[in-house]
C-alpha cells in the first residue's frame, strides 16, 4: 500500500499491539455491558437516590455504555489497520 511511513518499526508495532488489544477487548466488554453484567455495576454512570432506582433505567444505561464500547472498537480497528500497514511497509525486522 502506498501509505507513507511515519513512525519507527517499534512504535508501529506497539501501536498495532494496542490496537489489537482494543480490538479484542472492547467488543468483549461491550458484550458484557450489553448483557447487564453485575461485575461492571460500579462503573456504570447511574447515580440516583435509592428511592428513584429503576431497573429499566439501569439497564438502558448499561446499553448506552455498551454502544460506546462498540464504537470505540471501530476506532481501534482503524488504528490497528493503520499501524499494521506501517509495520508491513517498513519491511524491516522488529528485533532490536
Amino acid at each position: 500500500m502506498a501509505v507513507p511511513v511515519f513512525c519507527s518499526p517499534f512504535t508501529s508495532f506497539f501501536c498495532a499491539f494496542i490496537g489489537l488489544w482494543g480490538l479484542i477487548m472492547c467488543p468483549i466488554m461491550g458484550a458484557f455491558y450489553y448483557s447487564h453484567a453485575i461485575t461492571f455495576v460500579e462503573d456504570v454512570p447511574y447515580d440516583v437516590e435509592p428511592s428513584d432506582f429503576s431497573k429499566d433505567d439501569l439497564e438502558s444505561t448499561y446499553e448506552k455504555v455498551a454502544i460506546n464500547l462498540f464504537i470505540s472498537t471501530g476506532v481501534y480497528f482503524v488504528c490497528f489497520m493503520l499501524c499494521l500497514c506501517q509495520f508491513i511497509n517498513r519491511k524491516t525486522s522488529l528485533i532490536p
Binding site: I18, C26, T39, D43, E49, P50, N68, S72
Partner: protein, 884 residues
C-alpha cells in the same frame, strides 16, 4: 538419573600423536564435551609451542576485519547473516590456503583504494581548474573594461597607453616584469571559510597594493582522502611587482589554497577549458570503472566472509587448546574432564580425527585417579536451560548433589503465579512468551545484540509457564483485570425480606450486610475459585487477607519440608547415615512438628467451623502463642488439644540438643576408635566407589588402558586410608573388588581423616547449623507471607488503575463526549497496565519468587559449592567471538 543430579565426570589423560593432534582436538571442539586443563600454567603465552600459528590466525582475523570494514562502506552489499554451521573441522592445510587468499584479497583492495584516491585527487584538481577558468574570464573582462576606462583617463599622462594587462597576445600571463606597469595574476581555489581571513592577511601584508576578486563555486567538491564535501571559491589576485608576487604566493601556500596557471588571453583560456573538460570526462569514466570493479571484488568477498570468520575462529581456538597440551617429541598429552556416559562418543570422535589426519596410531584415553571435585555438568535442552540458569546464578550445585532444577520448573512459576494471580495479565504474559517461542528460530538467527531483549528471550519458556500458571491462579482468585467473572452464578443472594426493605433505605446506609444464614444459597460454595460477589463487597479484603495469609503459610511449610526431604536424598546418596539420624530426623520433627502443626490447625479450623459457630472459633495466632507458653487454651479446637500441644512442644525442644550434640559426639568417638567403624562412604569429590566403577568397566568394555596397576595404587593408598580414590579402569574387574574392603578399612568416616580432627571447629559449625535451621524455620515461614503481600499489592494496583483510569472512560452514557474520551482512555489504561502491572509487578514477583527459592527452599539442602563445566566447544566460541 542425570535429571536429578549432575553428570558423572572423571579425569582422563589424553595422549595424541603429533600429526593427529590438530584433527583430534578439532573433533573434540565439534562435539563440545571435553574440558581441557592447562598443563603448562607457568608458561608465558609467548613461549608456548603453537604461538606462531595463533599469531597467523590473528593476522588473518585482522585482514578479515579490514575486508569487512571495506564491505560495510558500500552500504548496498549485504553480508549474509545466518551461515549454516557445517560441523566440520577445517583441515590444517586450509589455514595456508585461507591465509594466501586473504592476503591476495587484502592487497588487491588496498591497491584499489589507493588508485581510487589518486584518481579522485586528479578529478578534483581538474574540476577546480575548470571552475577557475570559467570564473576568471569574468574577472579579466572586468579588468579589461577598467583598463580601458583608466587608459582613457590616463591617456593624457601615459602617452604610450600601455595596457595594464596585455590582452592581445602580449607577454604570457603571469608575473609582470619589475618596473613595468603590468599586473601579475595569481588564480586559485580556496575553502570558503578561509576566504575572509585570506583577504585580510593579503591586505595587511601587501599594504593594500593587491586586488583580490573571488566567486563562490556552487557545487560542493569531495575531498579525496576524507570523503567530505567542501565548499570552495575561486579567487584571483592582481599585483604589481615580483616582491608582491612572492608574498602573495607564500600567503596562498599558508592558507592551503591551490594555485592554477591561468592564461590571460581569452582564446588560450577557451582552449584550455575544452581540454580540461575532455580530461574530466575521461577521468569520470575511469573512476566509474574502478568503483564498479571494487564493488565486484567486495561482493564476491562478502558472500564468503562469515564462513571465513568461522573457520579462522575455529582454527585459532584449536591452536589455543593445543597450547594447553604438554608437548614431547612424538606425542602430546593433556588432562581433561569428561562425562562418563559420553566416553564412547568421545572415543569415536578421536578415531575420526586420527583417521582424518591419516595417522595409524590411535589416541589413548586413560583415567587418572584424583581427589579433586569434578566440574558440575548439567545437561540441559532449550526448555530446561532457562531454569538451570536461574539456579546457577545463586550457586552451581556441588558435584552429584540433588539438582533443584526439575522441581523449580513447577514450583517457581507456581509461586510466581500465587503472587501475580490475574487472568488477564497472565494471558498477555503467556501470549508474549508464546510469540517468542513461535518465532524462536528466526530470533536466534537474527543474532540480536540487545541484552535486555536477549534476556527475555532466554527465559521465554519460563515466562510462558509463569503466564499459564498465572491464568490458573487468576481463575482461582477470580481476577480478570481486577474484575471478577461470574461463570457459575454466585452462591450469595439477597433474601426476599431484605430486598423489600431496600427501597426504603436512606442515603447514609449504602451498605447491606448479608448474613450467610439467609443469603448463602444451598449451603454449597462457588464451584471453582472465589465467589464473584466478593468483588462488589466492601469487606472483601478482610476475608481475602486471612485466606491468603493462611494459604501462604501452608505453601511455605510444604515447600520447606520438601527441601528437607531432598536433603535426605542427598544423605542417602552420599552414604552418610549419621546425617540422616543426626540432622534429617530432628529437622523433620522440628519443622513438621511445630509448623506442620500450625498447618494442621489452619486446615482443621477451615473444616471444623462454619458460619453457625464461627463466633466461638479460637484465633490461631493466640492458640499458637499459648502453646509455646504452655497455658491451657480457653477455647479448644478439638478435645485433647492441650496434651497434644505439650507433646509436640517437648519433642520440638528436644530436637534442638539432638541437632546440636549428636553428630559432633559421634564424630569424636569415631576419631578415637577408627577401627570400630568401617564404612564405605562417598565423598563429594568423586561420586564413584569401587563398585560403581567396575560396573561401568564391565558394561562398556572400553579399550582404555590403565596407567597405574592395581598393586601400585594399593600401596599408595593403603597408608593414606582414603577410599575416595577411584582405581583406574582395568579389565581385571574382579581384582579391584577384592581390594576394596582392604582400602576401605583404612578409611572410614567423612573427609576429615586427612586433616587434624578439630572438635572445636566441628562443634561451632554444628551450632551454627542448628541455630540457622531453628531460627530459620520461624523467619522463613514468616518470609513466605510475601506470597500474600504481593498478591494483595497486585490486586490493589490493578483495581486502582481500573477505577482511576478506565472508569472515567466508561462513565459517559451519551455517545458524544463518550466516544471522544473512551478510546484514548482505553489506550492509556492499556499502556499503564503493561508498564506497571506487567513489567514492574512481574519483575517484582519474579524476584521474590526467586528469593524464596534461593534462600528459603535451598538453604534446607543445597550446598552449591561446585564449579561449572566449561567444555571446549566450537558452538560456544563461534557464537561469542569477543570472549577469547
Amino acid at each position: 538419573m542425570a535429571l536429578f543430579r549432575c553428570e558423572e565426570m572423571a579425569l582422563y589423560q589424553l595422549f595424541l600423536q603429533s600429526e593427529a593432534a590438530y584433527n583430534c582436538v578439532g573433533e573434540m571442539g565439534e562435539i563440545g564435551l571435553v574440558q581441557f586443563r592447562d598443563m603448562n600454567p607457568d608458561v608465558n603465552a609467548f613461549q608456548r609451542k603453537f604461538v606462531n600459528e595463533v599469531r597467523r590466525c590473528e593476522e588473518m582475523e585482522r585482514k578479515l576485519r579490514f575486508i569487512e570494514k571495506e564491505v560495510k562502506k558500500e552500504a548496498h552489499i549485504n553480508i549474509p547473516n545466518n551461515v549454516p554451521d557445517l560441523k566440520q573441522v577445517p583441515a590444517a592445510r586450509e589455514m595456508n590456503e585461507l591465509d594466501n587468499q586473504l592476503e591476495k584479497l587484502e592487497n588487491e583492495l588496498r591497491e584499489l583504494l589507493s588508485n581510487q584516491e589518486q584518481l579522485q585527487k586528479n578529478f578534483l584538481e581538474l574540476t577546480e581548474l575548470k571552475q577557475v577558468l570559467l570564473r576568471t574570464s569574468i574577472f579579466f573582462q572586468e579588468a579589461d573594461s577598467t583598463r580601458f576606462a583608466a587608459a582613457a583617463r590616463d591617456d593624457r599622462e601615459h602617452e604610450e597607453g600601455e595596457a595594464l594587462l596585455d590582452v592581445e597576445g602580449g607577454a604570457s600571463g603571469g608575473v609582470a616584469g619589475g618596473g613595468t606597469n603590468k599586473l601579475g595574476v595569481v588564480a586559485g581555489v580556496i575553502k570558503r571559510e578561509l576566504l575572509g581571513a585570506f583577504e585580510r592577511v593579503l591586505w595587511r601584508v601587501c599594504r593594500g597594493n593587491v586586488f583580490l576578486k573571488h566567486a563562490d563555486i556552487e557545487e560542493p567538491l569531495t575531498d579525496p582522502t576524507t570523503g567530505d564535501s567542501l565548499l570552495k571559491c575561486v579567487f584571483i589576485v592582481f599585483f604589481q611587482g615580483e616582491q608582491l608576487g612572492n608574498r602573495v604566493k607564500k600567503i596562498c601556500e599558508g592558507f592551503r589554497a591551490t594555485l592554477y596557471p591561468c592564461p590571460e588571453q581569452t582564446a588560450e583560456r577557451r582552449e584550455m577549458l575544452k581540454g580540461v573538460e575532455a580530461r574530466i570526462a575521461d577521468l569520470q569514466v575511469v573512476l566509474d570503472q574502478t568503483l564498479s570493479h571494487r564493488t565486484r571484488v567486495l561482493e564476491s568477498a562478502a558472500a564468503n566472509l562469515p564462513l571465513w570468520f568461522v573457520k579462522v575462529r575455529k582454527i585459532k581456538s584449536i591452536y589455543h587448546t593445543l597450547n594447553l597440551f604438554q608437548v614431547s617429541q612424538k606425542y602430546l598429552q593433556v588432562q581433561c574432564w569428561i562425562p562418563i556416559t559420553d566416553i564412547p562418543k568421545i572415543q569415536a570422535a578421536l578415531d575420526k580425527g586420527t583417521s582424518d589426519a591419516g595417522s595409524s596410531v590411535p589416541s589413548v584415553l586413560s583415567q587418572v585417579p584424583t581427589k579433586e571435585q569434578p566440574p558440575t555438568f548439567n545437561r540441559t535442552n532449550k526448555f530446561t536451560e532457562g531454569f538451570q540458569t536461574i539456579i546457577d546464578a545463586y550457586g552451581v550445585s556441588s558435584y552429584r548433589e540433588m539438582n533443584p532444577m526439575p522441581f523449580t520448573v513447577i514450583t517457581f512459576p507456581f509461586l510466581f503465579a500465587v503472587m501475580f494471580g490475574d487472568c488477564g495479565h497472565g494471558l498477555i504474559m503467556a501470549l508474549f512468551a508464546g510469540l517468542l517461542i513461535w518465532k524462536e528460530k528466526d530470533i536466534i538467527a537474527a543474532k540480536s545484540k540487545n541484552e535486555i531483549f536477549m534476556m527475555f528471550f532466554g527465559g521465554r519458556y519460563l515466562i510462558f509457564l509463569m503466564g499459564v500458571f498465572s491464568i490458573y491462579t487468576g481463575i482461582l482468585y477470580n481476577d480478570l483485570f481486577s474484575k471478577s467473572m461470574n461463570i457459575f452464578g454466585s452462591q450469595w443472594a439477597i433474601p426476599q425480606d431484605v430486598a423489600k426493605t431496600l427501597a426504603g433505605y436512606s442515603d447514609n446506609t449504602d451498605t447491606v450486610e448479608l448474613d450467610p444464614k439467609d443469603s448463602f444459597k444451598d449451603k454449597a460454595p462457588y464451584p471453582f475459585g472465589l465467589d464473584p460477589i466478593w468483588q462488589v463487597a466492601d469487606n472483601k479484603l478482610d476475608f481475602l487477607n486471612s485466606f491468603k495469609m493462611k494459604l501462604s503459610v501452608i505453601l511455605g511449610v510444604m515447600h520447606m519440608l520438601f527441601g528437607v526431604v531432598l536433603s535426605l536424598l542427598n544423605h542417602t546418596y552420599f552414604r552418610k547415615p549419621l546425617n540422616v539420624i543426626a540432622e534429617f530426623i530432628p529437622q523433620v520433627l522440628f519443622l513438621g512438628g511445630l509448623f506442620g502443626y500450625l498447618v494442621f490447625m489452619i486446615i482443621y479450623k477451615w473444616f471444623a467451623f462454619d458460619y453457625t459457630n464461627s463466633a466461638s472459633a479460637p484465633q490461631l495466632l493466640i492458640t499458637f502463642t499459648d502453646m509455646f507458653m504452655l497455658s491451657a487454651p480457653d477455647d479448644e479446637l478439638y478435645s485433647g488439644q492441650y496434651t497434644v500441644q505439650v507433646i509436640i512442644l517437648l519433642v520440638g525442644v528436644a530436637c534442638v540438643p539432638w541437632m546440636l550434640f549428636v553428630k559432633p559426639t559421634v564424630l569424636y568417638m569415631r576419631h578415637r576408635n577408627p577401627a570400630a567403624t568401617q564404612r564405605k562412604t562417598r565423598d563429594l569429590s568423586t561420586g564413584l566407589t569401587f563398585k560403581n566403577l567396575n560396573n561401568l568397566a564391565g558394561d562398556d568394555g572400553e579399550g582404555t588402558e590403565g596407567l597405574i596397576s592395581n598393586d601400585e595404587l594399593d600401596r599408595e593408598n593403603g597408608i593414606g586410608g582414603d577410599d575416595h580414590v577411584i582405581s583406574p579402569d582395568t579389565h581385571g574387574a574382579h581384582s579391584s573388588n577384592g581390594n576394596a574392603p582392604g582400602a576401605g578399612g583404612h578409611g572410614g568416616g567423612h573427609g576429615d581423616d586427612d586433616e587434624e580432627f578439630d572438635f572445636g571447629q566441628i562443634m561451632i559449625l554444628q551450632a551454627i547449623h542448628t541455630i540457622e535451621f531453628c531460627l530459620g524455620c520461624i523467619s522463613h515461614t514468616a518470609s513466605y507471607l510475601r506470597l500474600w503481600a504481593l498478591s494483595l499489592a497486585h490486586a490493589e494496583l490493578s483495581e486502582v488503575l481500573w477505577s482511576m483510569v478506565m472508569s472515567i472512560g466508561l462513565s459517559y452514557d451519551s455517545v458524544f463526549p463518550g466516544i471522544l474520551i473512551l478510546p484514548p482512555i482505553f489506550a492509556a489504561w492499556a499502556v499503564l497496565t503493561l508498564a506497571i502491572l506487567l513489567l514492574m509487578e512481574g519483575l517484582s514477583a519474579f524476584l521474590h519468587a526467586l528469593r524464596l527459592h534461593w534462600v528459603e527452599f535451598q538453604s534446607k539442602f543445597y550446598h552449591g559449592e561446585g564449579h561449572l563445566f566449561t567444555p571446549f566447544s566450537f558452538k560456544h566460541i563461534v557464537e561469542n567471538p569477543l570472549e577469547d
